[in-house]
């Protein structure tokens, strides 16, 4: 088998159909005006020309998921007695995320350090992550607001992806990055790609140069941000237009905060985990009514600080922002995190 492959564009639906027989395949499809990762079905309108509006993070870390179900079961012999049945669902299906972008795959790498590569791995994240193969499409043009090269990544970055694909004229060049990627690659639809390797490399370099650079990672950015932490004036200025809606966190491939709640109807219920956001006043509100993070500027400061200072400090300098630009593109008030970081560096 060749190290790399080539797939003519007209064969792409056939590949996805073949993969759908063995995997739950999620791919970016056009839904009205937005591009969303959806379960692939034959005849679906794939949209690979621009990054999906929502990253694929929900496929591995669902927006809302049941951690366990419980049921208080009445004893038929003694109506005053009940017993508790509890069921945790750790059965996850083999899944493919097809057509994620390098930034989306990087998002999972940022999750991994917190949810996987730790003493207390998250069993739900781990279960899905290990059963998921990520096939990533290198970007062939930057999108408005992208800044991946500023955070040490790039439009063809392969870290976090199992199989990389690059659009080249009439087809896609494929390069497996992991054993999981090689498994997919065995499909007979692939032609030998060795003739296209150099072309793909050039395409990567071309796009990389096109991505805007609002700032370059400087040595000491985490320290710089920390030193600004108590400078309320700086943060109030930078966050004046933010309305704390939290959209940035829901669109972010790397925002991983969550809430845990219970729901019960009759004798049965479930413990649910849902995405949560540090943009919300209630995120830090205690039952006593004490709230250590009452002000809007403290909340956005936390989001910027977490990605560019606290996480890098904890994880060997890795910035917890993949530069996808979604929070900039879709912010109703056009708050620009790359601008805030650039201002912090200059402050």
């Amino acid at each position: 088998m060749a190290d790399t492959g080539f797939l003519p564009k007209e064969n792409l639906p056939a590949l996805l159909e073949a993969l759908s027989k063995k995997f739950a395949v999620f791919a970016p499809v056009l839904d009205g005006e937005v591009v969303l990762f959806k379960r692939f079905a034959p005849g679906a309108t794939l949209c690979l020309t621009r990054p999906a509006n929502l990253p694929p993070k929900g496929i591995i870390f669902p927006q809302s998921e049941t951690l366990f179900n419980f049921n208080f079961k009445k004893d038929p012999e003694d109506p005053k007695k009940t017993s508790l049945e509890l069921k945790e669902n750790l059965d996850f299906v083999p899944t493919i995320i097809f057509g994620s972008r390098p930034c989306d795959a990087q998002g999972f790498r940022i999750y991994d350090r917190v949810y996987l590569e730790t003493d207390t791995a998250d069993p739900y994240y781990k279960g899905r992550r290990e059963k998921t193969t990520i096939i990533t499409l290198a970007c062939n043009a930057p999108s408005p607001g992208c800044f991946c090269t500023s955070v040490g990544r790039g439009p063809a970055e392969s870290d976090g992806s199992d199989l990389m694909m690059t659009e080249l004229g009439k087809g896609y060049f494929f390069e497996p990055m992991t054993e999981k990627g090689k498994e997919i690659f065995k499909d007979s639809l692939f032609e030998d790609g060795s003739a296209y390797k150099e072309q793909a490399q050039k395409a990567h370099e071309r796009v990389s140069a096109l991505v805007k650079k609002p700032f370059a990672i400087l040595e000491g950015t985490p320290e710089k941000l920390l030193s600004l932490f108590e400078n309320s004036q700086f943060w109030e200025g930078e966050t004046a237009k933010c309305i704390s809606c939290g959209a940035c966190t829901y669109l972010c491939p790397t925002c991983y905060c969550f809430n845990i709640t219970d729901e019960q109807v009759g004798n049965s219920g479930e413990r649910i985990r849902s995405w949560d956001a540090c943009m919300f006043f209630h995120f830090t509100l205690e039952a006593s009514s004490h709230n250590p993070r009452q002000n809007k500027h403290q909340r956005l400061k936390n989001r910027v600080g977490h990605k560019f200072s606290y996480y890098p400090k904890k994880y060997q300098g890795v910035i917890a922002c993949c530069g996808c630009g979604r929070c900039i593109r879709y912010c109703p008030m056009s708050v620009d995190i790359s601008e805030i970081v650039a201002h912090a560096q200059g402050a």
Binding site: F68, Y115, D122, I260, R271, T284, E286, Y310, K314
Partner: protein
């Protein structure tokens, strides 16, 4: 109720049965619990657990007892939110879900051979009690022991029979005050800082442990500074909205610190610069 639980997942609680309930004040109750699996909780003074009332939710609660030989542990709980209100409706024999223990503990080893100044405000006594009782049980390991306790009014004093014992002990100095007295109160009146002039400390060999409402810390720290106790010898326990206890959910984060793992007991010298900490 019979409860069986799959083991392993850090999100699935173990079960504990309530073996005793003591009403402490109008709004606080003490729950004595034992894990249904017969195992000790395995905690150290200062740590906390996530308590589940299934169908209502989960809340972080500090453990109020030191490790006890019979494997029981105590939670003293003010009814203030959904989970704690539901706890207050349970009786002896009721079951609670327990995850943990989580977090850092009070400096039981670092304080050995040193003097200890305990400062408790209101229900701050609940977590601090685990350390105070631990020290009293291992009294010879520690130097001079001073306990300062402030409550808003006499009816909000907790653990009355224990306070009575502390008042009578010759091997500790116990000083107490209330913000507002009632007709029966004959002791000190005023906020907790008014007790400091009555206390002599050797700052070099004193470990100070402070637990109370957020507003109290700032004023107590002014007093410890006046006494010359170095910031690195001062320990605080922070309250936060902690959902997972595993350093993931993000709710308790203050800059680099996850209070559920790096705290709740923190050294004042590590957090004094953090705007959101106190």
């Amino acid at each position: 109720m019979n409860h069986s639980m799959p083991d392993g997942s850090p999100y699935v609680p173990k079960w504990a049965e309530i073996s005793r309930i003591e009403k402490l004040t109008e709004s606080e109750k003490l729950f004595e619990l034992r894990l249904s699996n017969g195992q000790p909780l395995g905690h150290k003074p200062g740590q906390f657990v996530e308590v589940s009332v299934l169908g209502i939710g989960e809340a972080p609660i500090s453990i109020s007892s030191p490790p006890i030989n019979d494997n029981s542990f105590e939670l003293a709980v003010r009814k203030v939110g959904n989970v704690t209100n539901a706890m207050h409706n349970l009786g002896v024999g009721g079951k609670l879900g327990i995850r943990g223990p989580f977090g850092t503990n009070f400096p039981i080893d670092e304080a050995k051979g040193k003097d200890i100044l305990f400062v408790a405000g209101g229900i701050g006594l609940v977590p601090l009690r685990s350390f105070i009782k631990f020290v009293l049980e291992n009294r010879k390991d520690y130097g001079e022991v001073t306990v300062l306790f402030g409550a808003r009014n006499p009816s909000e004093q907790l653990f009355l029979s224990e306070l009575e014992q502390w008042r009578g002990r010759k091997d500790i100095s116990y000083l107490e005050t209330v913000d507002r007295a009632d007709e029966n109160w004959k002791g000190n009146v005023g906020v907790i800082t008014t007790l400091f002039p009555k206390v002599q400390v050797d700052p070099a060999k004193t470990i100070c442990v402070v637990v109370g409402p957020p507003v109290m810390y700032r004023f107590v720290i002014m007093e410890t500074k006046a006494k010359g106790i170095p910031d690195k010898q001062i320990f605080l326990s922070l309250e936060r909205r902690m959902k997972c206890g595993l350093g993931k959910c993000g709710h308790c984060q203050i800059n680099n610190i996850y209070v559920c793992q790096d705290g709740p007991v923190l050294r004042y010298s590590d957090i004094f610069a953090l705007e959101e900490a106190l």
